[in-house]
């Protein structure tokens, strides 16, 4: 397709399409310099506010891009940069909105908690390092070929390794950073190894070319195609912490500063899921159209098995968990499973709304998880530890914060009235539509098991009395995050329609994902 076409260089108009990423990069560089020259006595929180502002600017640019592209409806052609190595389409833009919103909330949360965390020595660095990480996530969701994809993945991973180890005076944090570095390295190696096979059998790193060449490759090198995809699956499986590749998650989340744990749980996971979505749909669905569908069916089935394993392993191991942060990590494993479902069920004649199901759940998951982590930072700072016991008697100490936590718990457990309920319901309806009844049963079973440990938090907050009965102090920034998340979670549970219609209005599976 692109054979013989020489590399197309960037033009100034192309730079405009990259404005969201570039603006973040510029702010990042400025903040490094600022941090270097700013006198010691000036609070580094100002850098946090600048980071926050930068994220909002980028968010505005992405929204402007979506509005600009969809003037004539959802079926706008995607924009290809650098020989289709970078795609500007609604798939990427919608996810970028999610990632930027999430990171902004996390920065806000950090503004409330980092100041008092003495283990974090470089407070300025903590904030501006989130920028390259989120740029990595944005590149991942926009990548049109395997090389761009890998660059995004590494940018995200390398900065997260540093962020996890940010609490320099804590040995737990150092241990977590080391563990994350090693497993993350293995993950990258798996992804690269898989990619090399795909490149080997199709002769290209461009997703569109791979899709076109795959039917032929399947005929000639069936086994190698399997190897390529399965290794990539395993690599991304580590990144999204889906069982059986999840063992690192509790340790790393526990050691990392809470806002960083939230970042790993939402943005890093979401970005890896997004790229998995893009790669499988873009290459395998089209390939399945062109001939032998058994290979793509098998790989989609493997995704479903991964999803089922993540749901069951995540909920089962969380049952006996006594540490709140590890609990949230394992809950993240189960949630990765739920979000893998819309990817793995592929599309059928009557069902192709996978993307809106996925994004809806991701948004609901973003708000409930960040909210839960925000409450956790408040509680654990007061108690000095992160055990479940820290929540005991919270009803007496901070009734409204406890009420907000109930909202997050209900949402995580998938009970109405909350965003998590509709998120799960849409995924369930989709899976039932695709006739994956066994998976529907597993989703429901794992949700019920999860009641036990999610409601363990409620038991601590409302039914036990704690040793400490001083009023719980909630810092302004953390309070804003908690209430914003609680309100959005309830709003998503009362009126799921507008978000779903919004996604449907701009997203076209044909033009924003498969072809175009």
């Amino acid at each position: 397709m692109y054979e013989g076409v020489s590399f197309i260089p960037m033009t100034w108009t192309d730079m405009l399409y990259l404005a969201p990423e570039l603006s973040l990069a510029v702010i990042f560089l400025l903040l490094i310099v600022l941090d270097l020259f700013l006198p010691k006595r000036v609070s580094r929180l100002s850098i946090g506010w600048l980071t926050f502002a930068g994220l909002l600017v980028s968010l505005g640019l992405v929204i402007w891009r979506i509005a600009d592209m969809n003037q004539a409806g959802a079926e706008a052609e995607a924009i290809h940069l650098l020989s289709n190595s970078y795609r500007i389409d609604d798939f990427g833009s919608l996810l970028k909105i999610v990632f930027l919103t999430g990171t902004a909330l996390i920065v806000l949360l950090g503004l409330g908690s980092v100041r008092e965390d003495e283990a974090i020595t470089d407070k300025g660095e903590f904030f501006y390092l989130l920028l390259p990480a989120v740029i990595g996530a944005m590149i991942l969701s926009s990548s049109g070929n395997l090389i761009t994809l890998y660059i995004g993945l590494e940018l995200l991973s390398l900065t997260s390794y540093v962020l996890v180890g940010m609490r320099r005076k804590s040995s737990l944090s150092a241990e977590a950073a080391f563990k994350y570095l090693v497993t993350g390295g293995i993950s990258s190696a798996f992804v690269l190894f898989g990619m090399s096979y795909i490149y080997g059998v199709t002769g290209s790193v461009d997703l569109a070319v791979i899709a076109a060449a795959l039917p032929g490759a399947i005929v000639n090198f069936k086994a190698l195609v399997y190897v390529g995809y399965f290794f990539m699956l395993a690599g991304f499986g580590i990144k999204i912490a889906a069982a059986p590749f999840h063992a690192w998650a509790p340790d790393v989340y526990q050691g990392a500063p809470s806002p960083v744990s939230a970042f790993l749980a939402v943005i890093a996971k979401g970005a890896a899921l997004a790229v998995l979505f893009r790669v499988t749909f873009n290459t395998l669905l089209i390939a399945a159209n062109g001939g032998d569908a058994t290979v793509s069916d098998d790989i989609f089935f493997a995704l479903l098995v991964l999803a089922a394993a993540a749901m069951l392993a995540g909920t089962a191991t969380a049952l006996r968990q006594k540490n709140a942060k590890r609990l949230l990590a394992l809950s993240g494993v189960a949630n990765a499973g739920y979000m893998l479902v819309p990817i793995g069920i592929s599309i059928t004649v009557v069902h192709s709304s996978n993307f809106s199901e996925f994004v809806y759940y991701l948004v609901a998951y973003l708000f409930m998880t960040v909210g839960a982590f925000a409450v956790l930072t408040v509680v654990s700072r007061a108690a000095g530890h992160e055990e479940l016991k820290a929540f005991s008697g919270m009803y007496y100490r901070a009734p409204w914060t406890a009420a907000a936590m109930v909202v997050f718990v209900l949402s995580l457990a998938g009970l109405p009235v909350s965003g998590g309920f509709f998120g799960k319901l849409f995924i369930l309806l989709g899976a039932a539509n695709a006739k994956a009844y066994w998976l529907v049963a597993i989703i429901v079973v794992s949700s019920v098991i999860s009641y036990y440990f999610y409601f363990g938090l409620v038991r601590q907050m409302f039914m036990r009395s704690g040793s400490d009965d001083r009023e719980l102090r909630v810092s302004g920034a953390a309070g804003v995050v908690i209430w914003l998340c609680a309100i959005v979670t309830i709003a998503l549970g009362l009126f799921p329609g507008p978000l779903m219609s919004g996604i449907d209005a701009v997203f076209s599976i044909r033009y924003d994902l498969l072809f175009g």
């Binding site: 009557v350 039932a432 949700s447 409601f455 599976i509």
Partner: protein, 543 residues
């Protein structure tokens, strides 16, 4: 009251507890008497409205004229692979309605909740959150009986689950946390199975195509009316075989799937009812939850199971239900005998009543299994009657426990001497429970057994045995408490205060009223049973 005509009265009933809830949230924390007053006044609103609704209910017209529909969730689906489709959506509606089956239960809910609010003087701590959860529970229960959309029904069902969890876990007795957990997990499994069944139902029976000129709309609807219509319409997609449509029909519901769905619904609602062997959780709840909450639990929440079974299990899957009528009847008989025998063996009065509930709910199953008009009427009558009686009994249990600090039969005795009023009411409630003619318990049992006798004589005979056992265990427990020697320490106990006496008198009045004028209830039920079940009974007579 004619000013109320034309207003969304059902929404008023449903939302009034929520308004009261907001008011209570804003009241200052230390003013517990304000909160109690506000809660009691709040519960009177749905009671007054549903009484008015009941009085003005036109039996011929049924629920028509009361339906309320608002578009709630309209989720557009991707239609890029369906050519020429104008619209492809999931539609769930905020849709409320009543008929002769749900209206009595709405009234029962409002009545029992108002009485329970009066009885909530037992609550000694955290009044604000108690009444918040209490009113949320009321809204949930009313919603369950009013909802006409499967997902709206589910949402309300889950609201009651969460509210009950808090009410048991915070204000219960010593083992409250364990009781709350068991309640949550058992009922969580039940609701999960129900959700699964609903999802499959909407995916098949909820699908329809609306043709408007050239444009077609593909719609998945959660509306109960749509699902029922599609299930009974042979030309609906759900009933077409792939051959009829030339190859594929992803919306067909095969017979296997019908059976699977029916059994799933039976289990889901059977846990709530509860059907033996899914009953263990409710024993814990009955002994551990605070009296005001048990009144509601035993009086209304168990009825949601029966209502769901009737509305979704029997009405949507009549073929399956009819084939399994014997199974339902057998389960009913097991419930009756098992509950009665174990009630006889209990030393704890609350457990006697809990097992008695299992036994009485068995009669509801018998009525459903009879598959004729008498049986259905009996089942519904029994639901309302048992709701009133068990609420009254648990109200008395609360009063006795407050005074003596125990509900062990061995430690109680001779209370009639110091508390003649409470003992008198207890005796009457006991007699109502064992089915004395002239009180409401008799009518429900009589109708249900009469209905079943037409179709299954031997099972009826076995079930009637339960009535004798009921007399034995009720009299054993009630007589032990009221008569016999009175322990020294109970000599100075005070009889009922006004705030306890009011709910007792009101509930007793309704029990007597229904016992003497059963037509007050049966007339309302009759017409709806007639129209709703006509197809079922008709085919039965034919085949």
């Amino acid at each position: 009251m004619s000013i109320l005509n034309g207003l969304p009265i059902l929404s008023f009933i449903l939302l009034s507890p929520l308004v009261g809830l907001l008011v209570i949230l804003l009241l200052p924390k230390e003013r517990s008497s304000w909160m109690k007053t506000a809660a009691i006044l709040t519960t009177l609103v749905p009671l007054a409205l549903s009484l008015w609704l009941y009085a003005g209910y036109d039996k011929q017209q049924g629920g028509a004229g009361y339906e309320e529909q608002l578009s709630w969730v309209e989720v557009p689906l991707n239609k890029e692979f369906q050519n020429g489709v104008a619209e492809f959506v999931f539609k769930f509606q905020y849709s409320l309605g009543i008929d002769g089956i749900s209206l009595p239960l709405v009234l029962l809910t409002a009545l029992v909740t108002a009485m329970a609010a009066l009885a909530a003087f037992h609550i000694k701590k955290r009044w604000k959150s108690f009444f918040v959860w209490f009113l949320l529970l009321e809204a949930g229960m009313l919603g369950v009986f009013l909802a006409q959309d499967v997902f709206l029904f589910f949402v309300f069902f889950e609201v009651t689950l969460v509210a009950m969890y808090f009410l048991i876990g915070i204000w219960g007795y010593f083992h409250r946390e364990r009781a709350a957990n068991q309640f949550l997990l058992y009922n969580g499994i039940g609701s999960a199975i129900m959700l699964l069944a609903f999802v499959l139902l909407v995916n098949t029976a909820g699908f329809r195509i609306e043709q408007a000129g050239e444009q077609a709309s593909f719609i998945y609807s959660g509306s109960y009316a749509d699902i029922l219509r599609n299930m009974t319409d042979p030309a609906a997609w759900v009933n077409m075989s792939p051959e009829q449509l030339g190859g594929i029909n992803p919306f067909q519901m095969t017979e296997t799937m019908q059976w699977v769905l029916f059994i799933m619904l039976l289990v889901a609602f059977g846990i709530k009812l509860p059907i033996f062997p899914f009953h263990t959780w409710m024993l814990k709840v009955h002994t551990e939850a605070p009296p005001a909450v048990v009144m509601i639990h035993s009086g209304v929440l168990l009825k949601m199971g029966a209502y769901g079974l009737l509305r979704f299990g029997v009405l949507l899957f009549p073929e399956q239900a009819r084939e399994w009528a014997v199974v339902l009847a057998a389960l009913g008989v097991i419930n009756i005998l098992y509950g009665a025998l174990l009630a006889f063996r209990q030393q704890e009065f609350k457990l006697v009543l809990a097992y008695s509930s299992i036994s009485h709910m068995g009669i509801v199953l018998l009525g459903l299994a009879a598959f004729n008009e008498l049986g259905m009427q009996g089942a519904l009558f029994q639901l309302v009657s048992h709701g009133l009686i068990s609420a009254l009994l648990f109200l008395i249990v609360g009063s006795i426990h407050e005074r003596t600090g125990t509900t062990e039969l061995s430690e109680l005795g001779g209370l009639a001497r110091s508390m003649p009023f409470i003992s008198g009411v207890l005796l009457t409630a006991g007699l109502a429970s064992l089915g004395l003619p002239g009180l409401s318990g008799f009518i429900g049992e009589f109708l249900a057994f009469l209905g079943l006798f037409e179709s299954m004589r031997w099972l009826t005979a076995a079930g009637v045995l339960g009535i004798i056992l009921t007399a034995v265990y009720v009299l054993r427990a009630v007589l032990k408490i009221t008569f016999g020697t009175q322990p020294e320490k109970y000599g100075a106990l005070k009889d009922a205060r006004l705030i306890e006496a009011i709910p007792m008198i009101v509930l007793l009045a309704f029990i007597l009223l229904l016992g003497c004028y059963p037509s007050l209830l049966t007339d309302t039920v009759q017409n709806s049973v007639g129209t709703l079940f006509e197809p079922l009974f008709a085919t039965r007579a034919g085949g």
